[in-house]
């Protein structure tokens, strides 16, 4: 009986090998179609993997995974054990490996097989304590498998041992697709296992808003949005500055047309929500047949919006320069352009840097509006994770990415403003100078005449918040008016 079996096996194996070579030559499908009909070998029905962690069905590298293999033995085959060779970089804890055999009509009889497991050099051997009943349907479950974090298609190879000790290789097993798993995802997973995290997450509020494992896994995703947002402001702000300066000069121009254009522009842009401007640009332009990619269009819209605010900041700055500075320059024979370029603007720059920084902060925050049109910036990236996890934590991560820029800058604004303020009080105008005998009158002329305006402007800006910065009319200097400038 045994000999016959063996002989038959050999013949069949040879035949099968022939078939396989045919299959290799022609098509893989042929093998699948033909093999079951010649169910000589142990026939793999399934070889899959599932993550142990519930939630996602994706198999991730570096995460504990369960491999399930199922196979049908030939009616006359007695299987004594199976062996799997795991791909390189894969680890597993063999202790929990289970083998089940299903027999009988409709495979309704379930037998848990008593197994001894040996794991060495990536080779997992499952030996049944006694050869199993012939023709069984076997299921082997290997727990706590960790595939390489790199991910990719993982190819297991298998073999089985017959009751007589013959070892036969299994046909090629289906590959398991493993997604790469980053450091952050691994960290997130290991966090999720920690006891303190579990008790932390037992508080609904903490779980929703500050789930440590979601926090960690959100970081790399939201970081890409952070880079995008930085990229947008880094392009938009330098564009907005010259445009804003041009607008402010136009607004103070003698020529009514220029003044009108600039005033209308500034009023319309400042008088409508940025959100609406983004919608009009992103939905209107394509309809008009103008196709601009998302990134440059976002940059343009933000730059155009910001330039209107910068215009008012520059105007307030220029007007806070005392009239005496214009007069002194003009009395020396300098023309209007020279006066602006060499006397007024250099002084203005120093004064408007704090307010400009505030405007930069606003612009940076305003990049979030582009989420509405699908730009993958911070909020949009956070939103995708929120949608898949149901946790609000990614939004908190997003908030952190805003704060790491805005908080230091706000500090810078504060320092600049206090320095400016102390300069102004240092210059102190007439009163202080008179009250102090032999005072090294630190006052320059602008300080004396313009300190009123300068200080008022600085105070109004000192709040550095949206309201103050976005309402430069409140901070307008009492310096020179356009009419006075024109008259010079």
């Amino acid at each position: 009986m045994h000999m016959q079996n063996l002989k038959a096996n050999t013949v069949r194996t040879a035949f099968c090998a022939l078939l396989v070579s045919f299959a290799l030559v022609f098509a893989g499908a042929a093998q699948v179609a033909v093999a079951p009909t010649n169910a000589y070998a142990l026939d793999t029905a399934k070889c899959t993997a599932k993550p142990n962690v519930s939630g996602s069905s994706d198999v991730l590298g570096g995460v504990e995974t369960r491999i399930t293999w199922e196979g049908q033995a030939d009616p006359d085959e007695q299987i004594a054990g199976v062996t799997f060779t795991l791909p390189e970089g894969t680890t597993c804890e063999p202790g929990d490996t289970r083998a089940t055999m299903l027999t009988g009509d409709d495979l309704m009889t379930r037998t848990n097989l008593d197994v001894s497991v040996d794991y060495k050099d990536g080779k997992l051997t499952v030996n049944f304590s006694e050869p199993a009943q012939a023709g069984g349907y076997f299921r082997v479950e290997i727990y706590k498998v960790k595939f390489s974090e790199m991910g990719g298609d993982m190819q297991l190879t298998g073999a089985y041992t017959l009751a007589d000790g013959t070892e036969v290789a299994m046909d090629t097993l289906p590959a398991i697709t493993v997604k790469s798993h980053s450091f952050f995802e691994s960290l997130s997973d290991s966090l999720a296992q920690q006891d303190w995290v579990k008790s932390w997450n037992s508080v609904l509020f903490l779980k929703l808003f500050l789930n440590p494992s979601v926090f960690v896994s959100s970081l790399p995703v939201v970081f890409w949005g952070f880079l995008m947002a930085i990229g947008i402001v880094a392009c938009a702000f330098p564009l907005a500055i010259p445009f804003g300066l041009l607008l402010s000069l136009m607004r103070m121009s003698k020529l009514r047309v220029l003044r009108g254009i600039a005033t209308a522009y500034v009023n319309v842009v400042r008088g409508t929500p940025l959100f609406l401007q983004i919608y009009i640009a992103f939905f209107g332009l394509p309809l008009a047949g103008i196709q601009i990619p998302t990134f440059p269009l976002g940059v343009i819209v933000l730059a155009m919006n910001s330039s209107a605010y910068l215009c008012e900041i520059f105007r307030a700055g220029i007007q806070s320069i005392s009239k005496g500075q214009f007069e002194a320059a003009r009395s020396l024979g300098m023309n209007g352009a020279q006066t602006m370029l060499f006397v007024i603007i250099p002084q203005t720059v120093r004064r408007v840097i704090p307010t400009m920084t505030s405007e930069f902060i606003l612009l940076y925050k305003d990049t979030s509006m582009l989420a509405a049109v699908g730009t993958m910036e911070i909020v949009m990236n956070a939103k995708t994770i929120v949608a898949s996890t149901g946790s609000i934590t990614p939004y908190v991560v997003a908030a952190c990415f805003y704060l790491i820029i805005t908080l230091p800058l706000a500090k810078v604004v504060g320092n600049l403003e206090s320095r400016l303020a102390s300069n102004d009080t240092g210059k102190g105008g007439k009163k202080k100078r008179k009250s102090k005998k032999h005072a090294i009158g630190t006052g320059d002329a602008a300080g004396a005449l313009g300190s009123g305006a300068g200080t008022a402007a600085a105070e109004a800006r000192a709040t550095g918040d949206a309201v103050a910065a976005k309402r430069p009319d409140a901070v307008e200097g009492t310096g020179i008016t356009p009419e006075q400038m024109s008259s010079l």
Partner: protein, 275 residues
């Protein structure tokens, strides 16, 4: 202070320095009797407020004219009309042979020849003393950087600030700042200098330095129109004193005439209050 005086004395002793030499030629030119500035029936009003109501004035080359008057009398406005920092609403202003009130006049070219010193100094705070004096030389007179720097140092030395050339205005006292402002105007080789209450914003002890510079300038033959409240300076330096009130010239004459024998009651009243 002593240093300033020493510098000034040296200056007088040597008689050197381009600025002074230049001014001296202006002084000699005074002999031709032709006015360098002529103001005819000048009017100025802001909306309803009438500031000047018909002022006639001629200033000869080398002459020092001091304008006195209570505040609001229009003396500063008159001065500012000379270089069109204020646009007159009526009348004419002639500088040398040009009618500067006429349309199409290159006012910048005229202003380059008319130096002005302000009550509030109006130094450019972002530039050093030297930078302040250099800027217009380079931009308006198109002097090279080296030449402008050379002239700047000369002029600053003349006003006694040789050691302060690299200071920012905020590091200088009021008197020092005003002297930088004077140097800045003089560096343009002006044909006439206008002083608009140049010492009014200064502590009394700092006033002396500035007045010293102005006196020296007057002795050098510079044509000057000075609006001031410094009666002593007016008496010492002025060739002619003008008393203004209510937008018109009330009295005009030599310092002796105006100070010691004022004709109008208004002048007497004003001078009485001053003393």
């Amino acid at each position: 202070m002593t240093e300033t005086m020493k510098n000034l004395t040296n200056e007088t002793a040597d008689g050197a320095g381009e600025g002074v030499a230049h001014v001296a030629t202006n002084g000699q030119a005074a002999d031709d009797g032709k006015p360098i500035i002529r103001i005819c029936d000048l009017h100025k009003s802001y909306d309803d407020l009438v500031v000047l109501r018909g002022v006639d004035l001629e200033v000869k080359r080398g002459e020092v004219v001091v304008i006195l008057g209570p505040s609001g009398s229009g003396k500063s406005t008159l001065l500012r009309c000379v270089n069109l920092l204020e646009q007159p609403t009526g009348g004419q202003v002639f500088f040398e042979d040009t009618e500067i009130t006429a349309k199409g006049t290159d006012i910048n070219a005229v202003r380059a020849k008319v130096g002005m010193v302000f009550q509030s100094f109006n130094l450019f705070p972002h530039l050093t003393a030297k930078g302040n004096v250099m800027l217009a030389q380079q931009k308006v007179l198109k002097r090279s950087k080296e030449e402008a720097a050379k002239v700047a140092v000369e002029q600053l030395t003349k006003v006694g600030l040789a050691e302060r050339v690299d200071y920012k205005p905020s590091q200088l006292s009021g008197g020092q700042q005003q002297r930088v402002a004077i140097a800045r105007a003089l560096a343009m080789d002006p044909h006439v200098m206008l002083f608009d209450e140049a010492t009014s914003a200064l502590d009394p002890e700092l006033v002396r330095d500035v007045l010293g510079v102005m006196k020296e300038l007057a002795r050098g033959g510079m044509t000057m129109i000075v609006v001031t409240h410094e009666m002593g300076f007016a008496r010492d330096v002025a060739d002619r004193v003008i008393f203004m009130d209510g937008g018109v010239i009330v009295e005009e004459g030599t310092p002796d005439e105006v100070f010691d024998h004022p004709k109008s009651d208004r002048t007497k009243d004003f001078l009485g209050h001053i003393r």
